[in-house]
């Protein structure tokens, strides 16, 4: 294998594995900047993955090539509806954010598997036929070397996610909505006295995280696993959460961290095709992403500064 082929393999598989993490961690960034800690991302991803697969299996013949994209949208909408539970519990009923998020995580897998059994009368679904597959950018793919590495047979959802990260960063730091959302996570009392509707901003944060988390789960299912079972989403939501922290609660930072975690995950898949790394026993490569997540969290959790009122309930005085 020549160097270009090796790089192309690493880049494309990194992008494939990063895409779900980028979408989900961007959601996490919005939720936490509004002041709501969302550890329920894992559960939201599960619901997104489940609903996207069901949609895909049902409508692949109707929508053809557009099916995985519509499936991602359906996953996002289901994720949004599912995250409403977290929003109502934390914002209206002032529940502890960790407990409420844990409820989502505990509830999603059994609920999804139960529905799979009810619909398909077995524990996991068939494989989908209309998956995201690989995409080559017309024109760009023909650029020598660079085209091969970055634009040929690559993951289109990852590129969408990267563009979305830039857009969301812009919205968060340069628009009125972004400023108000961050104010709800920094000092809700101050925001309230300045005429900002804190509850509305926090709802926006949580629902955006539900939508993007659902898309993240859908992208994982339709690009990587290809079907849905109880073990489809195992830790990706927590990895996205780690990317939020590693990325300092910033959309661009979360996107870059997700690329890093995606790279770690992809190594275990493509490691046997790479020189040197193929000699490392597979089991080490498989646990690597999780070990790296733990190390990153331990090393950076203390240092990076969360929004000041992240995880703090706001109770309006009356």
């Amino acid at each position: 294998m020549d160097l270009t082929t090796i790089l192309a393999l690493i880049v494309s598989s990194t992008l494939v594995y990063s895409a779900p993490l980028i979408f989900t961690s961007l959601g996490g960034v919005y939720s936490e900047n509004s002041g709501i800690v969302n550890i329920g991302l894992e559960g939201i991803m599960t619901m997104g993955a489940f609903s996207a697969i069901v949609f895909n299996l049902t409508f692949a013949s109707t929508f053809g090539k557009a099916t995985p994209w519509l499936g991602a949208l359906v996953g996002g909408i289901v994720g949004l509806v599912f995250s409403l539970l977290h929003a109502v519990a934390t914002i209206n009923f002032h529940a502890d954010h960790i407990i409420s998020g844990t409820v989502l995580n505990l509830m999603a897998p059994p609920l999804a598997v139960f529905l799979v059994k009810a619909i398909y009368e077995k524990g996991q679904t068939e494989n989908i036929t209309a998956n995201f597959g690989y995409f080559s950018f017309p024109g760009l793919a023909n650029i020598p070397v660079i085209g091969n590495i970055f634009f040929k047979n690559t993951s289109l959802p990852a590129y969408v996610a990267i563009v979305l990260a830039i857009l969301l960063s812009f919205i968060l730091y340069k628009t009125r909505f972004g400023l108000r959302l961050r104010s709800a996570g920094e000092n809700p009392q101050a925001a309230d006295t300045m005429g900002v509707n804190v509850y509305k901003m926090r709802y926006a944060g949580v629902l955006i995280s539900g939508f993007l988390g659902g898309i993240g789960g859908a992208v994982f299912a339709e690009a990587i696993s290809g079907n849905f079972s109880v073990s489809t989403i195992v830790g990706q939501g927590f990895m996205a959460l780690a990317a939020v922290i590693f990325g300092k609660w910033n959309p661009i930072g979360a996107m870059l961290s997700s690329l890093f975690f995606g790279f770690a995950q992809s190594l275990s898949i493509i490691g046997n095709q790479l020189p040197v790394i193929s000699k490392i026993p597979a089991v080490y490569m498989q646990i690597a992403p999780y070990v790296i997540t733990i190390i990153v969290l331990v090393a950076f959790l203390g240092k990076s500064v969360a929004p000041a009122a992240d995880g703090v309930n706001y109770i309006k005085a009356k």
Binding site: T175, L179, E186, M194, G195
Partner: protein, 508 residues
């Protein structure tokens, strides 16, 4: 507009909270360009009145006229549209935001979908120039001083077009030099035609800045004066409802044996940096040693180290000639140390427990309150009844939860518990924080009484008045070190202020 026109008239304001009349017929008039002081004890109804004016509460009855027109201020937006703005006592700022972001929040100028920072910066700079509120619009709030944060708060209100400004206890957090600057700012605002209501309980500030003063007691306006025509004593008396001694009569000092000796003390704060950097001093029986300084210069760590709540890195704490460095709080208490903590609700009391149990928190485990590990509640209740009477704690009975008492009475519970231990050393940290004149007078008298009985007292306070009035010796703390050692009789607030900010260094 006529200079003498009333911009605000509040007539016969009554606010009834389920039968409790927080405001019971208050009248207030504010003229254009004047500074009106609102003086009253805690719970007198000042805050309720201002909440009504800023739209947070609706009055039960009464009339409000703004610029001669009858208005119904039913929410803060109405107040804002009438040009009424409030600068809160506890700043409402997002610390990771820039000054500019904080000011424009809620009223952001936009350029299409984007925030228009350029326009905002121009407007804010114009305002800060006009009113002498210099502050860097691009600095983060966490990087600027408290005094600058206050300027940001004022700019916030001005940015929203307010011409009636309410200040709630604005100088509580400022150093003497900053207070002087703040008073200039207030005068500048008034000169530009802004009308100002100043809520305060500091008489000297009223003298320095206000044109007129309204005294409020028990929900009623009891006096209305031109500041130039009224004495401090008269104001204090009206506010409290009885004669108040403004100056304490101190007996000459009767120095006893050395009680506390601190040598080269070094203590770290939570993040692991040194907060107390080699402090040495001693206190004898019969004297009050005051520690002056701005909040956050090592006071918390010093007091916690002395009471056994925080690890001492190096150095020595000797109490009654015994080495008590890094001993447990219980051992330190046993040896004869009483402590009045700065945060009475967090460290001084267990708010959910009844007064009686709070009164024995430091000695419930030995006779007569317990025997063989079993508590004798009869004794605890008798003890509580005795102390409630002796220390004049205003409560219906000793079974009331401490959290239901007013601030002043909560503090009396702590004072009663600590002084009843009959310790040789009393550490009083901000003993009158947030209390009104009557309660302050009471606590000061108690501390002086203990001093006259030969007790050693360490008084740590951010209130210079308190330090100056009570102390026999003043140590000024700056950045964890002794910046100066002065006598109250031969110093003044200006000198203390300079020492506190580290501008002037002096070793005595």
């Amino acid at each position: 507009m006529d200079e003498q026109q009333n911009v605000i008239e509040m007539a016969n304001i009554v606010k009834d909270f389920n039968g409790f009349k927080a405001n019971n017929g208050i009248n207030l008039e504010l003229k254009k360009g004047e500074i009106l002081a609102l003086l009253g004890e805690n719970g007198a109804g000042k805050s309720t009145l201002m909440s009504i004016l800023s739209g947070l509460l609706e009055p039960t009855s009464g009339e409000i006229l703004v610029r001669g027109k009858k208005v119904n201020i039913k929410n803060p937006t109405v107040a804002k549209n009438l040009g009424i703005g409030m600068v809160h006592q506890h700043f409402m700022l997002a610390h990771s935001f820039t000054v500019l972001e904080n000011i424009i929040l809620g009223h952001e100028p936009t350029n299409g979908p984007l925030l228009n920072f350029k326009k905002a910066r121009e407007e804010v700079l114009a305002l800060s120039k006009k009113y002498g509120l210099s502050v860097n619009p691009d600095a983060k709030i966490s990087d600027i001083t408290i005094a600058q944060q206050q300027k940001v708060e004022i700019l916030k209100v001005l940015y929203r077009g307010a011409n009636i400004l309410i200040f709630d206890e604005p100088t509580a957090v400022l150093t003497p030099q900053e207070i002087t600057e703040f008073i200039q700012i207030l005068k500048g605002l008034a000169k530009e035609g802004k009308s100002i209501i100043l809520i305060t309980h500091k008489l000297e500030e009223i003298k320095a800045v206000a044109d007129r003063v309204i005294v409020i007691r028990a929900g009623k306006s009891v006096g209305y004066f031109k500041v130039a025509n009224v004495s401090d004593e008269k104001l204090a008396e009206l506010m409290v409802g009885r004669h108040v001694e403004m100056t304490l009569h101190k007996q000459p000092i009767q120095l006893g044996p050395e009680i506390l000796q601190v040598k080269e003390l070094k203590v770290k704060e939570n993040r692991g940096n040194l907060a107390v950097k080699g402090l040495s001093f001693d206190i004898h029986g019969g004297e009050i040693v005051g520690i002056a300084g701005i909040d956050g210069n090592g006071q918390d760590e010093l007091v916690e180290a002395l009471t056994g709540l925080r690890h001492v890195e190096s150095g020595q704490v000797k109490i009654k000639s015994k080495d008590m460095t890094n001993q447990s709080p219980r051992k330190i208490t046993h040896l004869g140390v009483s402590s009045i903590p700065a945060d009475r609700q967090k460290y001084g009391l267990i708010l959910q427990l009844p007064i009686a149990e709070n009164l024995v928190l430091k000695n419930y485990y030995h006779s007569p309150f317990s025997k063989h590990g079993i508590i004798n509640f009869d004794k605890i209740h008798q003890h509580a009844k005795k102390l409630i009477k002796q220390f004049d704690i205003r409560t219906t009975n000793e079974n009331l939860a401490a959290g239901e008492l007013s601030g002043g009475n909560q503090q009396k519970v702590i004072i009663a518990r600590e002084l009843n231990l009959n310790s040789d050393l009393i550490i009083a940290f901000q003993p009158t924080r947030g209390l009104d004149v009557g309660a302050i007078e009471y606590i000061h008298k108690q501390l002086l009484h203990e001093r006259n009985n030969g007790k050693a007292i360490l008084l740590v306070s951010y209130e210079l008045d308190e330090i100056m009035q009570l102390s026999d010796k003043i140590l000024v703390l700056h950045d964890g070190q002794l910046a100066g050692k002065v006598k109250p009789k031969t110093t003044n607030e200006t000198e203390l202020g300079l020492l506190m900010t580290g501008v002037k260094k002096e070793r005595a």
